[in-house]
């Protein structure tokens, strides 16, 4: 038994310290180095934040180049699918336009009525013009690892972007900024497990927290009132209770899935986002 233990210790020591053929560093040194980087990163020392920011900016630029071949393949497949389904899509679009034309007038009337009522109640949470911030950014990488559902955009602190700002794609909320570098930023998507957003359900005064589960068509509502049963085809809006994001922005929708279960899907599609708007809480 002691011989076996000695053999094990010798093997481990050999594996850790022996550099081997053409190895410049020993595993022991690199493991220690990794642990010290993790510790320094956790302590969030100022020099670590700056160096992380610089490294991130450089690596993101290289990552854009390396992702080009796959982007071209994806684009070709999408274009082919679009050409195949062009007639069907055209019919659907014509019907949608008719419907939207009808809804447009109702919407304009309700918007002006809402403004009047809010001003009457002195309840307006609109930001003054000098508080408004809005900038367009390009999605450079969209990553959905088992750890984080996020996208990277090509604007950073140089353009005035700050942590916590809201990101929109075609008027739909996509997520918010969680990491800022000098010329790039990371957006945490609403579908991510770590995303929590205060919301209100259409035609009710039910408040809840919208949480991501990692899937576009399976978001979760928590802190709902007891015995409350959610209905399908209801739009979920931001409630504005976090004090930063404007209320009344559509974010998700309930629907019946194939197994007749009510699910919640996000309205903005992060996979289709190419150009996004970064604002400090308001829709453009």
């Amino acid at each position: 038994m002691p011989d076996n233990r000695d053999d094990f210790i010798i093997s481990i020591r050999y594996a850790l310290l022996k550099k081997g053929a053409k190895q410049k560093f020993s595993l022991f040194f690199l493991i220690l180095f990794s642990i010290s980087i993790i510790t320094l990163d956790k302590l969030s020392l100022p020099f670590m934040n700056v160096s992380r920011s610089i490294i991130s900016d450089i690596i993101y630029r290289v990552a854009i180049v390396s992702s080009k071949p796959a982007k071209i393949i994806e684009y070709s497949i999408k274009m082919a699918n679009r050409h195949i389904n062009v007639y069907k899509n055209n019919q659907t679009l014509i019907e949608e336009i008719e419907l939207l034309k009808k809804q447009k007038f109702d919407f304009a009337y309700m918007q002006s009525e809402n403004k009047i009522l809010k001003s009457a109640l002195n309840f307006s949470n609109d930001k003054s013009p000098n508080q408004i911030f809005s900038i367009s950014a390009k999605v450079i990488i969209d990553l959905k690892s088992p750890y984080l559902k996020s996208i990277l955009i090509n604007k950073g602190t140089r353009s005035g972007i700050k942590k916590g700002m809201s990101v929109f794609n075609k008027d739909y909320l996509l997520g918010n900024i969680i990491e800022t570098n000098y010329i790039s930023s990371r957006v945490l998507l609403l579908t991510d497990l770590n995303s929590k957003l205060p919301v209100i359900i259409e035609n009710t005064n039910v408040n809840a927290i919208l949480e991501g589960t990692g899937k576009k068509k399976n978001l979760r509502l928590s802190y709902l009132p007891e015995n409350y049963i959610i209905e399908s085809e209801k739009i979920i809006f931001t409630s504005g209770k976090d004090g930063f994001i404007q209320g009344g922005i559509p974010v998700a929708k309930t629907f019946l899935n194939q197994k007749n279960k009510i699910k919640i899907k996000i309205l903005g599609d992060p996979d289709q986002a190419l150009i996004v708007r970064v604002t400090n809480g308001q829709v453009d």
Binding site: Q23, I55, E74, G214
Partner: protein, 169 residues
């Protein structure tokens, strides 16, 4: 012109390192959006590291593995050094296996990949859990680990073939 064979040979030698860097920068996320490819996602870097440290350690330096881990951390958004430590622990486990194995059998190496994957993922999860606020998707991670294990023989034969027929020492 006589430099061409030398350059070609150098590139062929560097292919594992280049592949490791390429997959660290880019995880084929765009392709995963097509159909059900995402379901079969696997960790190519782990297969590459396990195979080369086990069979041809002179072709893949620990320094490169460490750097690739740092790049992956930056791209994915996990705490800096996490993936490096996970890959290095996989390398440590594999080096230990190499030192204590007398005869190389593919099936044995395939099945020892399970504890190697478990060990390196375990370290990853401990660090992510304790050093960051990131929550992760256990099911996706399990799927990813399972397919990494499942696809190993295919890459084992592919890399073996590559080393035997393309690399001339």
């Amino acid at each position: 012109m006589h430099y061409f064979p030398q350059i070609k040979n150098k590139l062929l030698h560097l292919l594992p390192v280049l592949l490791l860097y390429f997959f660290s920068f880019y995880n084929f996320e765009e392709l995963k959006n097509i159909g059900k490819i995402n379901f079969f996602s696997f960790n190519f870097q782990m297969i590459l590291i396990y195979f080369y440290i086990l069979k041809y350690p002179e072709y893949l330096g620990f320094g490169h593995i460490f750097l690739c881990g740092l790049i992956t951390d930056t791209v994915i958004g996990t705490p800096l050094g996490t993936t490096s430590l996970s890959y290095l622990s996989l390398s440590l486990f594999t080096t230990y296996l190499r030192n204590s194995t007398l005869r190389s059998i593919m099936t044995a190496e395939w099945f020892t990949f399970i504890p190697a994957l478990f060990f390196s993922n375990f370290i990853y999860l401990i660090i992510v859990n304790n050093f960051s606020n990131v929550s992760f998707y256990y099911v996706e991670l399990l799927q990813n680990t399972f397919f990494t294990f499942l696809f190993f023989p295919f890459f084992y034969y592919f890399f073996n073939y590559y080393q035997k027929f393309f690399i001339k020492d």
